[in-house]
């Protein structure tokens, strides 16, 4: 879920942008390291960015009839590791702003934090937890992707509530309100995207297992079979 251009007051926009810079830098460093090990990884990440952009530009079939686009954050975090997702999210969001007028330049920092940092970290943590508890691979993946979406949604609602607290009730009342309004689109999206991620993984595991478990990916071959 994006915050659109101009939605945040100037102090908030600035603060979130400053917060996003180190996250993107750390991610870029981790990409640089994996590129040094495997030069092909650079091209792969570039094309993965394009893939994420294309996937998020497509509409997911949705229950409520509202338009919802997949975020791809949880899926990407499982496939490429959570650190690489901050720069990827930065690039995808910049493309979305300049090619689709979705999101914006002043809200880029806030959106990188919610979509590129909070979502992937939560999703990846849950995926690892699921594997540690020996849950089936499909279930772990579903939970990871759904939780990544929910974490993104929660962080976005917090960002909005911080920017627009209620006159009475302040931050918490505003948070409840934003969570309520956006749950109309975000809850079905989390479930739908989780199911789609499992289906994508199944299809890939069946037809081109090598693509998922090559060096440079964060998955081991045993983890794909569900």
């Amino acid at each position: 879920m994006h915050i659109m251009e101009g939605f945040l007051p100037v102090e908030h926009a600035l603060a979130w942008s400053v917060a996003a810079v180190p996250c993107v830098a750390v991610g870029l460093n981790s990409i640089r390291k994996s590129v040094r090990r495997d030069p092909e990884a650079k091209l792969l990440l570039g094309l993965a960015t394009a893939f994420t952009f294309v996937l998020t530009a497509l509409k997911l079939p949705s229950v409520t009839g509202s338009s919802s686009h997949p975020t791809g954050t949880g899926f990407g975090a499982v496939l490429f590791g959570p650190l690489a997702m901050a720069p990827i999210a930065f690039m995808v969001l910049l493309f979305q702003a300049l090619l689709l007028a979705h999101g914006g330049l002043t809200t880029l920092g806030a959106n990188v934090i919610s979509l590129g940092v909070a979502g992937p970290l939560a999703g990846y943590a849950l995926f690892r937890l699921g594997r540690m508890l020996c849950l089936p691979g499909g279930l772990s993946l579903f939970l990871a992707v759904a939780v990544a979406d929910l974490a993104t949604y929660l962080v976005t609602a917090c960002q909005l509530a911080l920017a627009f607290p209620e006159p009475q009730g302040g931050f918490l009342a505003a948070l409840v309100k934003f969570l309520g309004v956006f749950s109309l689109t975000q809850l079905p999206l989390a479930v739908g995207e989780g199911i789609v991620a499992v289906l994508v993984f199944r299809a890939l595991a069946k037809h081109s297992l090598g693509d998922l478990t090559k060096p440079g990916r964060s998955l081991k071959s045993g983890e794909v079979a569900s």
């Binding site: 251009e5 092909e40 650079k42 091209l43 394009a50 893939f51 294309v54 739908g192 789609v196 890939l204």
Partner: protein, 250 residues
């Protein structure tokens, strides 16, 4: 991807990207800094004028492009305008929060002005020019290289995705909700596989041409006029000054 098409075809394509980005960013700043409803609307008008009259973007297209963010904006400001009851979630208890009306009005006008500024930049400046500009501003080379690779690939993948989607729809792949999800999953898997495949091929192709971590492209020659810079910069700066001195809404 209409925006990308117009970015190459508009009348101001050959103007220096720094000029266009500078004006857009000044207007964006004016919108954000403003406490009054009028200044962002003024900025929106100015940017719309430059886009439609200056860069010759057809106004019908421009309007249609504006409609999408406007829809989001109305949905978003709805959350600020309504007032949830303090105890319980009775749907009949939801009413208009009169205290929040000035906040919402400022928000709508600010966002509207900002979206117009963003659209001006997006419609007049192709991504490759923006990447060149970012390189000059000292962005990390690795990030820009990844973006260049991604930008090139986006259109190939979009084309594939559209064709797969059409084939699936022709076979009634999106009739039911779960069927739709399954079709979408297959589409995603096919697309991801193609992504992997193309990245391998691109790697081989670049390697065989002596790829050394640097893709150099020639940028076209830009016209650079001091007069336009002064006019645009002056207008942008005066908007910022106006934003700083204009009083807030009563």
């Amino acid at each position: 991807m209409q925006i990308d098409r117009f970015a190459y075809l508009n009348r101001w394509r050959r103007r220096h990207p720094a000029e266009k980005a500078g004006i857009a960013i000044l207007c964006l700043l004016a919108c954000l800094l403003s406490r009054s409803v009028m200044v962002p609307l003024l900025a929106a008008f100015f940017m719309g004028l430059l886009t439609v009259v200056g860069a010759r973007i057809p106004w019908r297209t421009y309007w249609r492009l504006l409609l999408v963010p406007l829809g989001f904006l109305l949905f978003g400001s709805l959350a600020i305008l309504i007032d949830l009851p303090a105890n319980g979630f009775d749907i009949r208890e939801i009413r208009l929060a009169t205290g929040n009306v000035p906040v919402a009005a400022l928000l709508v006008s600010r966002s509207f002005g900002a979206v117009c500024s963003l659209l001006f930049l997006a419609l007049t400046t192709p991504m490759t020019d923006i990447l060149t500009l970012l390189r000059r501003c000292g962005f990390p080379a690795l990030l820009l290289e990844l973006m260049l690779l991604a930008y090139r690939q986006i259109f190939l993948l979009l084309d594939t995705a559209a064709r797969i989607r059409q084939a699936q729809e022709a076979r009634l792949g999106y009739l039911s909700w779960f069927g739709g999800l399954r079709s979408f999953g297959l589409l995603g898997a096919a697309l991801l596989r193609q992504t992997f495949q193309q990245s391998r091929q691109l790697h081989l192709a670049l390697q065989s041409r002596g790829y050394r971590d640097d893709i150099r492209v020639l940028s076209p020659e830009f016209t650079f006029s001091l007069w336009a810079l002064a006019a645009g910069g002056g207008a942008g700066l005066s908007l910022i000054v106006l934003a700083l001195i204009a009083p807030a809404w009563p």
